[in-house]
Amino acid sequence: MMNKKNACGFGAGSMRVLVGALIPSALLMVLSAFAAAQTIPQNTTGRNPGTQVPPGATVPDATTAASQTTPQRRINFGAGYVSDGSFKFGEYNGLEKSGLFGIGNLDLSGGAPYDSKDTWRWRLQGSNLGLKNRYTSLEFGKQGKYEFRLAYNQILANTNDSFQTPYLGIGTDTLSLPTNWLVPVEPQKSATALNYRSLDPTIGAGSVYNSHGVLTAPTPAQLDTMAAVRAADLPDFRNVDLSLTRKRGEAEVLLSPNEKIDVPLSYKFEHKDGLKTVGGVNDRNTQDSALLPYRVNWDTDQASGAVNVKLKKLFLSLAYYGSFFHNNTEHMIWADPAVLGLTSAMAEEPSSQFHQFTATGSYKLSRDAKLVVVGSVGRGAQNQAFINPSLSNEGALQFGLPRSSLDGVVYTGLASAKFTAKHKKWEYIADFRFDDRDNRSPVDIYLFQDDASLKTGTSPFSGLYGLPTGLGTNTNIYNNRALSKATYKANGQAEYAISRSQFLTAGYSWERIDRHCTNSWITCEDAHLVNENTVRADYHKSRGTLTSRLEYAFSERRGDYNEDAFLAETPMANHIPASGATVSLYDYLKETGLTGFGPVAGLPAAPLTGDAAIFTPNNNTVAQAQYGTRNILNEIPGFRKYYVADRNRNHARAEFDLNGKDKITLHATGELDDDDYVNTKLGLKRRTWWAATIDASYTGSEDLVADVFYTYDNQRHFMAGDAYGSNSTATFVGRAGDTILDGPCFSTVADRNASAKIDPCLNFTHNDRDKIDTAGFTLRKKNLAANKLELAGEVMYTRARTLNAVTGGSYVNNPLALAAPAPVLPTGTSAVFYISAANWPITRNDQISIRPNFTYAISKSATLQGFYWYQRLMSSDWRYQALQYGAKPNFLPTSERSPSYKVNVAGLSLTWVF
């Protein structure tokens, strides 16, 4: 068919078709917009249980040459019903609310006939139109000349609908508390200190020990106080739905001015909007924390373009990629529920940009040999203004800032070369890769108070080394770190064809990672240089219907672990404190050979003197004030961070595939990863993961297909820790007679305290294990009822268990062991209990879904589709326990619950093919 051209250069006939297609689609979108804000459900194809395709994908086979060679146009519309609302069920599919919803999909295409000289074609697709997770795309162009693609994609991601909060101003950057808010207190414990337990009438009214060690019930006046708090505060808590909406628009162009040049261009715009929770902590009176409804209001633009030159043996490409993130909210301020009138502030994710240029060249050296070379440079920048210290009255930034913004810059680079060749029975791969992240952000000293904590004491660095006066012993004097990393990797591999059906592969790779920090006064990384060597072998056989494969790889990673890397954050560790010390902390550690942990010893026989008494009193860890930090930062000797620690890794994989020319196919895989952190005494010592799947398919005929699979997945993390204490000369708790300790390692408080740092009873282990079974079954039967009916169905089941086993124990003081005027404990009564660790409750998530559906051909151009979807989740997770009312003194309760649900969905739709 010859089409006349219009001014746009498109075929006029095609434009008519395009307009004709847009009208019904626009109508459909309008109709859908009136439907409930839900998305369509998915049904199955009878292959690979658990994957989903939209209804309408199954249409009658075209029977004529004309219909087979002409693109079909398809519109699918209908309605469905959801029985129960569930945010988790509707996490991504939009079916979070109960009630009616609309079904709408379309797939329209057209253009010049295949046998025309015209290459104009177009395609308009849409799913979930008019709904919250709609998708539409329009493609058009003249093949080989230019092609355009426009798309719009939206998703609603639901997090939680059981979250409660008393905060006002949700959706803005300032969260305030209602004017009637009363600081929750348990007056029988403290008349002023925050205690959310008072929000629960039963738990809050619990008895406490008075100063005489007598269990005392709250007085009527105290109960009245708590009742007043509950009356004022509880009504302030209300439900807030936590969800994010992502809207993304995409435009892509492929220009092909001739057969040797391509110019692909693309632009994507994305807006994310909604609420999620972040933890906010305050520390003026008592360290209290709240999960805050955090406003997300982000825009991201991504642009890319390239020029590809395609010659006979040579391919060259120069490409650009840019990403521009803009946070429309710079910070969040919230009211401290413990101290009325006090606010805290958090800096939000800073706006940033990233530009990257990539040059690629490949050259075909011969029919069987090829060289590919890539070079890439990038620049990421971030210069968001720092939060104004005056915006919050928490006093965290009372000493001023060294600069008004970071002016952060990170350069990235990649250089790689890959050579591949085949020669007779051999195939070779050799490649080298250099990857660099070079952080050139300026490094400065920042002075701050943690959270809202008030300054106490006088820092031994106050007024020295260019620092201002007035610094407290709990003032943090920190350097930022500009983390950089360069990775070198070389790899060689050879495959030998033992026979036409058997192949043996062997390979070796070497990797070196160089971590470093720009402008750091000391080596900043836990492992500066890490080398990893890997050998691997692979045997596979493919003969007839049978394919099998065995893979094995062993890696050995070793590095120069540095237990003093933490000092890079604390520049005062390189200066002598004004506390009588003669050297800096860093020099002291070098002189003594110690780490920040100090001596691995109990209380010294004689009191320490000189620098030792200042830096490691009582043989304890280095005193924080002596290097300008509020928190202990050091590591225990023998501790290793797993992502840089020495490691032996075994990887194995086996695969068996009976790909039937016959009715039955079988596929089985087994895979194992075992990471042994060989030189780690404390920290993650071993991670083991293995999984196995068996998948069988039965094809009784062209009309009958059944699939079933089962996967077992097992993951284990084993770590060891040490909850060491501080050596002290204290000999009792409460009164002088309260000295008995109930524990397996020590019998007296004095003995325990003298060896608190090396107390073996404080060693512990975590053994975290995931055990997950997944099974699926699908069945599809076509050509029933005089070839008009197709039935399909799917069952999916996941049984997931996370077990967190713990060994060890902790000390807790007997609450009756109190200072005078409380009495001394009765003879033989323990002043300190040793409480054994308990395994965490098992985290369970059991989910089953059953989804039968049918397709009935009403005519050659119309089919009726119906489906039913039952899904149930039985979930339990201990993380929610402390978020309930009355559970924790200093967590603002949110009442969030584990999202179990049971939902039924049914729908009916009509597909029209034309």
Binding site: T51, Q52, L414, E671, Y724, T798, V806, P815
Partner: protein, 294 residues
């Protein structure tokens, strides 16, 4: 394929005389980009299946190149891929990094994933792409049915959003040069650079996350505080946290020796655990956020 094959409709007729509308969906190739005869690059039947002289003379003989997975005459992976790469290695939608890539070296054929005789290629549709990938990546299929996952099954994220199955410059077939660069294509807010960077975050998101699915929130490999304690061992991070620290746990109630309410459920063991306060673990740009709590 050789340049001598007849790519025209006339050439195709040698095949479509027999392989006509009664032969399944063979003719549907003309709905696809490979069937647009106005484009001189389209291959025609013989462009992919070879000249197949013997097959033309004797239908019991197989064509030169057979793609049907269930055919007993299925051609070798090399023969099948060579056909596709004749155009796609460097001229049409170039697959520059295919050679030596994981899929290539594991014997994956282009036609294992791509169906050419349909205008609805499953692998090119985000909703149906997982069906194709899961045929081999079966353990990942199970992982995408876990409590915490990306919206792969709903077609809002596809495997190819993160992985380039044709080979790439990144590890694990990532579409970008590194894992973090790949993650930033959707999670640009975590890119920074931040004033206070968290080393494992900057290096590799998978140090803490299982992107294919997890039984605990936020796709974490294991949950806090255990996850955090794999790297942190000082101050309150050194503590032993266990079920005994939960409300009504043995620690809170003193093994029954201390009445309820005497002790507080330990902060680090409850709610979001460490993240209840250190919520900015991906990096902080607050001058007082060195400990990721601002």
């Amino acid at each position: 394929m050789t340049a001598e094959v007849d790519r025209s409709l006339e050439g195709d007729k040698k095949c479509t005389l027999c392989h006509n509308e009664a032969s399944g969906h063979v003719l549907a190739i003309y709905q696809t980009k490979h069937g647009v005869k106005g484009d001189s690059r389209t291959p025609g039947c013989q462009g992919c299946h070879g000249e197949s002289v013997e097959h033309q003379g004797n239908p019991t003989k197989s064509p030169d190149v057979v793609f049907g997975a269930k055919s007993k005459h299925l051609s070798s992976v090399d023969a099948r891929n060579e056909t596709c790469l004749a155009c796609h290695e460097s001229s049409v939608l170039p697959r520059t990094h295919w050679s030596g890539s994981q899929h290539e070296s594991h014997g994956v054929a282009c036609a294992d994933c791509h169906e050419l005789h349909t205008n609805d290629q499953k692998v090119l549709n985000k909703l149906t792409q997982p069906e194709v990938c899961f045929q081999c990546h079966q353990n990942e299929r199970a992982q995408f049915h876990r409590f915490s996952r990306h919206p792969i099954l709903e077609g809002k994220v596809s495997c190819s959003d993160c992985h380039n199955p044709h080979g790439s410059t990144g590890p694990r077939l990532m579409v970008k040069n590194t894992i973090t660069e790949t993650c930033y294509t959707c999670h640009a807010e975590k890119r920074g650079p931040f004033l206070w960077e968290h080393a494992p975050v900057v290096e590799d998101c998978t140090n803490c996350h299982s992107p294919h699915g997890s039984n605990v929130m936020s796709l974490l490999k294991t949950r806090p505080p255990m996850l955090c304690q794999n790297c942190h061992t000082s101050d309150h991070a050194k503590g032993l946290y266990s079920g005994a620290n939960l409300p009504n746990g043995a620690f809170v109630t003193g093994n029954g020796a201390i009445p309820l309410g005497a002790q507080s459920p330990t902060d680090q063991a409850n709610g979001k655990s460490c993240l209840q306060c250190h919520s900015q673990v991906h990096g902080s740009n607050h001058p007082g956020g060195a400990k990721y709590n601002r």
